[in-house]
Amino acid sequence: MSVGLLYALAGAALFAIGLAGLLALPHLLRKILAFNILGSGAFLILVGLGQRDGSVDPVPQAMVLTGIVVAIAATALALALARQLLERTGRMQLPEDRADAETDDA
């Protein structure tokens, strides 16, 4: 198994972890963390699969470089929105999650 395929499989695991966290965790900051982990998994799959025959491929690498910058822009915007929600409701949770997670103090 090549290094690329190995990291692509790790990317699949990270994608699954991020997906589960994004859907199951009520706290918005955790959702943002999960979204970033999901994104990192996707980036690993993109580059890893492109290099599964063992050669270095600059095309997916350049795309991931763009993706990392877009991911931080999305994270900053999501954090600003979450702060706004905290300002207005006193909680960092979406309204539909709140009933489920009264005990979650994180």
Binding site: D53, S55, P58, V59, I72, A76, L77, Q84
Partner: protein
């Protein structure tokens, strides 16, 4: 119900991950070899480093749209923060201030180096911009920069410069060929010009994303 739902989500996500891994293991070998295409055309791209060639020349659209997305995200953040939250920065520990004053010029120097070396080795506008932004964050943490809730005109020009220069260059080469197809003789110079503007704008935008959304706690 409250306990069952998360367990079901985790189980489904795990199932998805396993299916994804199984699909990747069954993929046939590459039908198209992109690295060969890159290697065949790199001489005409104006730079010697393949990733910079892909980012700024072969797939210039990606980078053009990416700097636009970055600017849009900053607009969103600026629209969300309240103007009265802006206060003067509180002075941090003198040691941190001195350290920041020493490091910030060095970081600008490193950013310039990364920008220049991007033509031939790992580096380029993204990394240089990130280092510039890190210098901004460091100065902010040391209390040497105020919050940028309402950017001044000069700052706005800096934030938009990358996108404007990129669009201007893309439009200027339209007469020669299609959008973002540089004439090989000018490609190196044009790419360096676009990258220099991008570095400034990416650095300012990333720093502004931090400086605008974080508030001063005295």
């Amino acid at each position: 119900m409250r306990r069952v739902l998360p367990v079901a989500i985790v189980a489904l996500a795990a199932l998805f991950g396993v299916a994804l891994a199984a699909a990747m293991l069954e993929l046939p070998p590459h039908a198209v070899r992109l690295p060969d295409d890159v290697a065949a055309n790199i001489a005409a791209s104006g730079v010697a480093h393949p990733i910079t060639a892909v980012l700024l020349n072969f797939r210039g659209y990606d980078t053009l749209l990416e700097i636009a997305v970055l600017l849009l995200a900053l607009f969103g953040v600026l629209a969300l923060v309240k103007p009265h939250a802006a206060r003067a920065a509180h002075p941090a520990h003198p040691l941190l201030q001195t350290l920041a004053r020493l490091l910030a010029p060095l970081m600008v120097l490193v950013a310039g180096y990364l920008l220049w070396v991007g033509a031939i080795a790992p580096g380029g506008a993204f990394q240089a911009g990130a280092v510039l932004a890190a210098a901004g964050v460091l100065l902010r943490l040391a209390g040497l920069l105020p919050a940028w809730v309402a950017p001044t005109l000069l700052l706005r020009v800096g934030l938009a410069l990358g996108l404007l220069v990129f669009v201007a260059v893309a439009a200027a080469v339209l007469g020669h060929a299609t959008l973002l197809t540089y004439p090989p003789a000018l490609a190196g110079g044009l790419i360096l010009m676009v990258e220099a503007a991008l570095t400034l704008s990416i650095g300012l935008t990333l720093a502004a994303l931090y400086l605008a959304s974080t508030e001063v706690r005295p």
